[in-house]
Amino acid sequence: MHAITYLRNMASRKKTLLKVIILGDSSVGKTSLMNQYVNRKFTNQYKATIGADFLTKELTVDDRTVTMQIWDTAGQERFQSLGVAFYRGADCCVLVFDVTAPNTFKSLDSWRDEFLIQASPREPENFPFVLLGNKVDLEPRAISSKRAQQWCQSKNNIPYFETSAKEGLNVEQAFMAIAKNALAQQNSTVDLYNEFPDQIKLTNTQKPSGGSGCCQ
């Protein structure tokens, strides 16, 4: 009985989980972008991501159902204190800057470097990044599309989207591209942990048989 349930679970779980992390300076709109995409909601009130953890969304990419788990920095980026644990197992890294704040654009290099050092992906040169220039609804604009695109080209052609989390502009499209890139990454790299996928997530479950396996 037990084994049957388990096998069935395995079969039905033949879907993909993508871990996406969002990086960028404080207040560029990382949490807002996530919320707009997953909950279609926007709040102007800046709360430095209290309660923001990760959001999950199921979507279909090329006829495949994938679950995208989007991880927020939880504010730990503010004083450069994102620990290495945050970067583990990322399939795609989304870099965000604020098109009205030049400093947030200047930081992109260091965020990208930080990611590559901390996550140390197997093929750093091919790891998928996506760049989002957020707050295009605001004036005055400090970083032109051209400038952002040039930066992307210099980094092995990172896809670039101009978004407004507030108005929901381009958010859907951007995350679709993020999912596609993450998926392509997963398919192209032979992931050791996929071959031996028996790592354990602790859940609130116990074996129904109960007791120890030893002496009963």
Binding site: T56, T203, C214
Partner: protein, 585 residues
């Protein structure tokens, strides 16, 4: 860079496991928390390091202490200034040695790349035979190239599947930030050989080293010990060893139960031994074949998981902060001096390592001997990669040793290599404490090229203070609490207990780490465009004032009934052996 906010409910210095648990618990109930560390990494003495950075551990420690000594600060007014940090709990006897050549140049003279004594590399020139067997010849250069694939724990921990720590991870929902692997076999050193310890019922019956009669004896004993109601009066004033002898067990069975299953030694008292046996038995059959779990990417992930929860609930994180000291007035902590800022809080939690020396009254200090090896194969070869726990019994004048062998699937070392952690109560010094094991199980000098024993490519010894066996009295102001460092126990139960105590002293009315809502349970309310956008950046600095207790709690509110229902349905499910990212082919 932003200035730090200056007012908090609690400031926590140090990111070891105790401080991290306190931080998560305080943020979780809506306290304004600043969590700060002098180092630019998480974990302090609980951290995991890359190969390169652990090799620099010694230098870093010296550097850090020099900073402490060089800071001179004037007294100001009525309050007393106290410098942070002490040298009492430093890591000692650090000695890392390479046992491979620097580069793949066979012409290169054999050299040890680090200062060391006599037991240096011997003959490492690969012979023809090895080449035909496709043996990889590792070099220092090649290993350092993989430096970041190593996550080398200072304090490797195994969790009992039904232990307090695992229950806490689950009940608090912090489990979502971590992944584990189950220890897949338990070994021991018995009659000059490595033997598999029969853990579960099926192990006992499939074990061909144990006779049928022994099997019955063992099952009978374990069944009787499992009975919690059982009267332990026959156990008084007796060692566990004697108790087992009286049960007329064979020497081999006594070995399995005493040294492996209960992780006891010859002096362990009977009651304690039984308690530890039950702990082992009680954790069987939950998450894998043995009772133990190991955190993916190393034990250094654990403090970070708690810090993540703290951050999610508004805790402010600042690593790499130069801290000058703190001021005390009327036996109360007043403010912490960080950079040029004065930070105030009602409570201060300090890791003992960071504590001013006048806060610490050291009665007795015991040490843990540690040894870390990088090897080229497992101690017991097998088709699949194992995560091995090896319990080495006490021998002559040596204490018993806990060894954990990790392969690449744990995310702590590169492919084709193994990382071996050894831990014991220090007797003389780490090098001597482990010498017999290294000689028995490993091939350290590479003298014997035919040897099947794992070749040691790199070895590192060090000593850590053991706060479980030490006697440290605290001499602190009323609103200051000290968090302890590493301990010899295999899991985090001691640390969690410390953290709980600190938390309940600060907030006696508050619940300790209630379940955090799942992200889907947090309702984000959309708002109209009332606030000027340009205000947003300004609000950042005082976001903490906005986030009052009430607000945080409201955010964290769970839909109670829904949650309970959910928990109920989950009860009938089996353990999720999540096939993370399984790709549909």
């Amino acid at each position: 860079m932003d200035q730090l906010p200056t007012e908090f409910d609690v400031i926590i210095v140090g990111t070891g496991i105790v401080e991290s648990v306190v931080s998560a618990a305080a943020s979780r109930v809506g306290k304004r928390v600043l969590h700060i560390d002098r180092s630019d990494y998480y974990g302090g003495q609980w951290a995991s390091f890359s190969l390169e950075s652990i090799s620099k551990l010694h230098e870093e420690q010296i550097e850090r202490k020099n900073i402490i000594n060089s800071s001179h600060i004037e007294h100001s007014g009525i309050s007393e200034f106290v410098e942070l940090g002490n040298k009492l709990f430093d890591i000692k006897n650090i000695e890392c040695t390479w046992h491979v050549q620097s580069k793949t140049d066979t012409e290169q003279s054999k050299e040890s790349t680090e200062m060391n004594d006599s037991d240096l590399i011997q003959n490492l020139v690969p012979n023809e035979e090895q080449h035909t067997q496709e043996t990889v010849t590792w070099t220092k250069e090649a290993l350092l190239k993989e430096s970041r694939k190593f996550n080398i724990d200072l304090v490797p921990k195994l969790q009992y599947a039904r232990g307090d720590f695992v229950e806490l991870l689950i009940s608090s929902n912090i489990a979502r930030y971590s992944e584990f692997r189950s220890v897949s076999r338990v070994l021991t050193w018995l009659n000059e050989h490595l033997e598999v310890v029969p853990c579960s019922r099926s192990d006992v019956f499939s074990n061909n080293k144990v006779s049928v009669i022994e099997k019955r004896m063992l099952m009978k004993l374990l069944t009787s010990l499992e009975d919690v109601e059982k009267d332990l009066s026959g156990c008084k004033d007796k060692t566990y060893h004697n108790y087992l002898k009286e049960k007329k067990l064979t020497p081999n069975l006594i070995h399995y139960v005493l040294y492996a299953i209960s992780m006891s030694d010859n002096n362990t008292l009977c009651e304690q031994g039984i308690k530890q046996t039950r702990r082992f038995l009680g954790s069987l059959g939950r998450f894998g074949k043995t009772p133990f779990l190991f955190s993916m990417y190393g034990s250094g992930e654990m403090p970070q998981a708690f810090c993540r929860l703290s951050a999610v609930f508004g805790g402010i994180y600042a690593l790499g902060q130069p801290m000058k000291g703190l001021t005390i007035s009327e036996n109360k902590f007043k403010c912490l001096l960080v950079n040029d800022q004065k930070l105030t809080a009602e409570h201060l939690v300090l890791n003992l390592e960071h504590a001013p020396k006048q806060f610490v009254d050291l009665k007795k200090l015991e040490y843990i001997s540690r040894c870390v090896l990088i090897t080229d194969r497992s101690v017991m070869s097998s088709e699949k990669e194992h995560l091995t726990l090896l319990l080495y019994p006490p021998e002559n004048d040596k204490n018993s040793v806990i060894m954990i062998e990790l392969g690449t699937l744990t995310g702590t070392c590169p492919k084709d290599l193994y990382l071996v952690h050894m831990t014991t109560r220090q007797k003389t010094n780490p090098k001597e404490d482990f010498l017999h094991i290294i000689n028995n199980i490993f091939n350290i000098n590479h003298k014997d090229t035919e040897s099947e024993k794992p070749k040691v490519l790199w070895v590192c010894y060090f000593s850590l203070p053991d706060f479980l066996s030490s006697d440290v009295k605290q001499n602190v102001p009323d609103n200051v609490f000290l968090g302890t460092g590493p301990d010899i126990d295999s899991d985090y139960d001691f640390s969690v207990k410390q953290a709980k105590e600190i938390f309940s002293k600060m907030y006696p009315e508050e619940e300790f780490l209630p379940r955090a809502p799942d992200p889907e349970e947090i309702v984000i309310e959309a708002e109209d465009e009332e606030i000027e956008d340009k205000d947003m950046a300004d609000k950042q600095t005082d976001q903490k004032d906005e986030a009052t207790d009430g607000e945080v709690k409201q955010k964290a509110e769970t839909k109670d009934t829904e949650t309970k229902q959910k928990a109920k349905t989950q009860d009938t499910e089996t353990l999720e052996n999540v096939e993370k990212k399984q790709v549909d082919h």
